[in-house]
Structures are given as structure tokens and as C-alpha cells.
């Protein structure tokens, strides 16, 4: 299945083939969870990210992705 992925901040450049824009469409196996997707996309799993799935926050990393999903991953941010 294909999933659209976008990452921000310090994750830019980490996706496979990332040219610095931090986004791409990736082929993932069926029934891939968010946690498994992070692993396959070179995103370190131990960090507390803000994750959004189809423009809504998603905190369950065991959530199974569907074809056509849009996954956004942001490192923790704060302040101004």
C-alpha cells in the first residue's frame, strides 16, 4: 500500500531518499502500524513525537495504516 508521509524540523533529511523537503509517498506492507512505519522510514522510535494521521492527532503507535493515509511526524517543539 502507499502512504503519504511528511516530517518536520530535525527529522528533515531522514526519510529514505529525502532531498530535504521531508515528504514523499512510500510503499509499505499491508497492516503496517505507525510504529513499524517509523522504523521503516528511518525515524528514531524512542522520541516523543507529535503524530498526525489524516490531519488529526494520533497517539496510538499500534494504529494500523491504510492505503492512501497521510502520516505527519513532528519532533516536540516549544515556545517562541
Amino acid at each position: 500500500m502507499q502512504v503519504d508521509v511528511e516530517v518536520f524540523g530535525t527529522l528533515r533529511g531522514k526519510l529514505p531518499g529525502d532531498d530535504g523537503r521531508g515528504k514523499g509517498t512510500f510503499e509499505l506492507p499491508e497492516d503496517t502500524t505507525i510504529s513499524q512505519a517509523l522504523d521503516q522510514l528511518n525515524i528514531p522510535a524512542e522520541i516523543r513525537y507529535i503524530i498526525m494521521l489524516n490531519e488529526n492527532p494520533e497517539h496510538d503507535r499500534d494504529c494500523v495504516l491504510q492505503s492512501g493515509d497521510k502520516l505527519v511526524v513532528m519532533p516536540p517543539v516549544a515556545g517562541g
Binding site: 518536520f8 530535525t10 507529535i50 516549544a78
Partner: protein, 615 residues
Amino acid sequence: MHGWAGQILRIDLTHGEIHKEPINETWATDYIGGRGLAARYLWELMPDRTVDPFSPENVLIFATGPLTGTNTSCGSRYMVVTKGALTNAITTSNSGGFWGPELKFAGYDFVILQGQAPRPQYLWIYDDTVELRDASSVWGKGTFESEDRIREEVGVSDAHIAGIGPAGENRVRFACIINDKHRAAGRSGVGAVMGSKNLKAIAVRGTGGVSVANPAAYMKALWTQHGKMSNSEDRKGMSALGTAPTMDMTNQFGALPTRNFKEGTFEGTENLNGNAIRNGESWIRNKACFACTIACGRVTRPSDSAGKFMVNTHPRNWKIAGEGPEYENAWSLGADCGIQDLDAVLMANLLCNDLGMDPISMGATVASAMELYEKGVLTDEVTGTPMPFGSGEALVRMTEATGYREGFGDELAEGSARMGAKFEHPEVFMGVKGQEFPAYDPRGFQGMGVAYATCNRGACHLRAWTPALETQEGQDAHSPVGKSSWVIEQQNQSTAHDNTGICLFTGFAGSVLEDLSELTVAATGVEYSHEEFVKAGERTWNLERVWNLEAGLTAADDDLPERLLKESHTKGMSKGVTVQLDQMLPEYYSGRGWDTDGRPKQEKLSELELAEFLV
């Protein structure tokens, strides 16, 4: 005393008299220091809370905390406490850099300024030597040039200077105080108050240090704090990209105020976010304040193409290095004005620092004027230059004009509340208590609505930052449930934090407030429990509230613009959401122990040992 220097400076500017006196130890213990202790002094020294902010009766206090100047991580902060020129409320504006520690090294916790100098002056402090000097050589000059000249005049190359630019002299209502050229006590117009007192700057050099009561316990707590911050992923993110990545988060949540809060998402974030600043040709390096272990500061220089912005009086600024933009400035001068040209943002930000103005209020005021221009209320004849949303040229031109109160800049210099009211469209003011909002749309983060409405110094993101809660598992960013109690807790804690003299960002970078209470105990020798430490924050918050009530503010001032209460966005994650302040505010008052009119009840004031302040 330990932690505290134990001595304050009282300056009678009217008569040119300088007094040194011991710090009030009872008050220092009750309020910890900094913002809280300064509020207590302001209460004592300014019995008529209703005076005009520009009156000689207004009192201007520069205050450090007991950890300022120690090697506690980010121990750089001083606060400016006074009646705000923008808000007519008590304000507490906070800055880093190196000036605050230098004041402690000279042997003083506070500088309290009263009256009005008969002519422009600056204060020079070199350890025990304290003198008022003629400021005619720097009056009218920008902060960058003024710092260099004052340093030459006093003949001490490592003196640190906090002062105002032309904006403060011209009483621009959101003028700030700049120290070390690029760090700012930014909000509420503290620089305008300083200007009204004919005080250009305070230059200071100190050769002493800060003693701590229990060095072994202090160092143990310090290494604990440093260890947490060193390993923190949050800290690493701030070191790498500063604060501007927050723009990506707020944009995703539909909470990035755009074009004067008419929208909650912005199409130009990729040109203004942390990556754009870090990877752009303007980037030079990180910068840290005194004892900082984060280094969120960005040293930048406008690119060659910035020369397209014709800045009349400061052509030298085209190619000099400055600092920023932080997230707030990238938003206010960028998205809020519909501008995605980083050069325009950098130029306006640099001008704000040199002229001495708060970039949040500057950008937000330009944004409100751009809305009036879009509506046809303002025309080219009035503004002197086209002001559509998205015009970087208008932003840069108007920033400069505002600092000098030239042309339409004279209207912008009043801030968007007064400017909007003058042109009979008060609805374009996006703020609270006369102060413009910072960079979070409460329709995307509901809790920011009650945080903004209740902040004692007007709209502010530094007293309670609810995205920290509202992005967590189990939280609904669009629900008002539970937000008020969390805002109360945050306000009390952040106030205790401010009182110590430590940068709030330690709390975003791996350290927790318990670290600071432990360090404060070790530094001062006062055996605060953590609960007593936080209680000092709550005591400060309530004293500020009572101060404001005596100044004439009421519950009606704890309100939000109708745009946030009745109009929702049509796209983005916050689509269809309005702020439910009518639910959150009563819960807030009740949770605070205040009555339905927002007045602290006698029981609450007694609990906080503030019974004598009952209004």
C-alpha cells in the same frame, strides 16, 4: 545573604539622587525574587495604581532573581516591572543576554527608577560607583549604535547595556528595552515608560559574583539539571532549530494565526520555519545567553536581496548581523501579515531591535492595518504606501516609520487597539487588555483562550502554554474541559519560575520546576518546600491581579475579540471551532478562589498571606 545580592539601587531621576539600600528580606523570602518581589515593591512605591503610565509617578523596576548570575542553566534573566504603556496594567517583561547577571555581579538585585529626569540621561553602574550621565550623545540613536557609544564613553569595553531606541524615546506604546543589542524585555511598552523618564540606558559592569548558601547541595542539584537537559530530545531540537519549528506544529493544528487571525493555516510556512532559517543564506550561527545550555538564539544577516527594501535612515542595517527571528517574530512579521518573504521578516525584525520595539505587537499592528486597508478603510492617501496583506515592502517601511512616529507610523505606534478604535473599526484588534496576541490561535488550542484572557499583563503565551497539554494523548485541543485548571497551575508555576531569574525555556528542554526549587533552596538557604515555592508564584499572581483591579481593570477586561468567539476557520484542523470562553472563564475564577467578578476572595488572600491587599 546568599543568592540575592542583598542590595538594591533606588534612583530618583527627578532630583538626580541615588540611594543604596538593603533588600527587604521578608519580601524576598515571600516572593523569591524577580517578578514577584518587584511587584511587591511596585505596590509599595506606587500607591496610586491609576496614574498614567507616562506619569513621573509610574515606577520602573529592573529586577533579577536569586539564581540570576549563577551557573544554573539559563541563569540570565532580569525582569522589567512597571505599569505598561500598552496595557495600563502591571507588566512584567523578561529578558536574557548578559545584563541581568552583570547587575548581580555589581552587587545589586534591583534598580528602581522613580520620577522623571529633567533631560536625557543614562545610568552607569560600575560596582560601588553609580552615576547618572548626560545622554545627549546617544539620544535619538538606535540601540546598536547607542550601546557602542556608551561603552566608549564609560571606557569599559565589557560593560553591558540595557536601553531604548528612538521608539522608546518617542513613546511608541509597544517600545521595548533592548540589552546586549538583540535581547529584549519586549512586551507591554516598558521601553516607552523608560523613554517617558528620559532615561536612555543603564550600563553596568560588575566584578563580583553570586554566593550560594550550600555549595555542595547546589552543585549536586546543578549537575542533575544539566544532565537532564543534556540528554533531552526537546533541548536538542531547540539547539538545532531554535523556536521556529513551532510554526509547523501550529500550522498542522490550524492554530497558526494568519492575516490578522482571519485564517488558522498559512501557505508560506516552508519559507519561515526553523528549517528555512537554519538552511537559508541568512543563517550564521547559534547564540546562547549567559550560562545557557540550549542556545536557541539565531544569529542571522539579511541576504543580498534584502537591499530591495528601501530603509531610509538605516542603510547600514542592510548588511549587519542580528538575531532572530524567533517563532513569535517569524509569525507576527510573517504569517500574521500574510508575508512569506524571509528577507522582509529579517529586515523588520532587525529594525525592531535597533529602534527598540516589540516585534509581536509591531507585526500584529501592521496586520490589523492591512485588514483595514483590505476593507478600504485605510487608503494610500492615509498610509502613504500600499498596505495589502503579503507586502514585505509595506512591513519594512511601516516598521521604520513607527519607530520614528513618521506619517502613518504615528498611528501604528499607538498599537492596534488604539489605532483600530481611531479608525472606527475596533474589531481589527486581536488581543487582550490592549496587548496584541502572540502566535497561537485559541481556536486551535482552546486553552490558550483562557490563558490569554486572564493573563495579568494582557495577551501572552509565556504564563501558560497550553499546546504542551493539548497535544498530549487523551487531550482534545478543541474542548474547553479541564483547560482552566491546567492554565491556573501553569500560571502559578511559570510565575515561580520567573521569580528565580531562570529562563522559562529550561522547562521546555528537559528540566522540571522541582530542579529550580531545589536550586533556589541551595542558593538562598531558605528552606522552601516545592509547594511553598509554587505558592510564591500564586501569591505573585494574585498580587498582580489585585494591583490591576486597583488600576481600574475589571472582569470585562478578561475577554477575547468577537472574531475568536463567533467566527470559525473554514479550513485546517480547527475548522468550525470557536473559543468557549464563557465556559472556561467561570471555571477559572472559581478555581482561583475569586468571585464571579474576578476579584480574589478574602479567604484566598488570607491563605496567600495577602489579606492586607484586599480590594
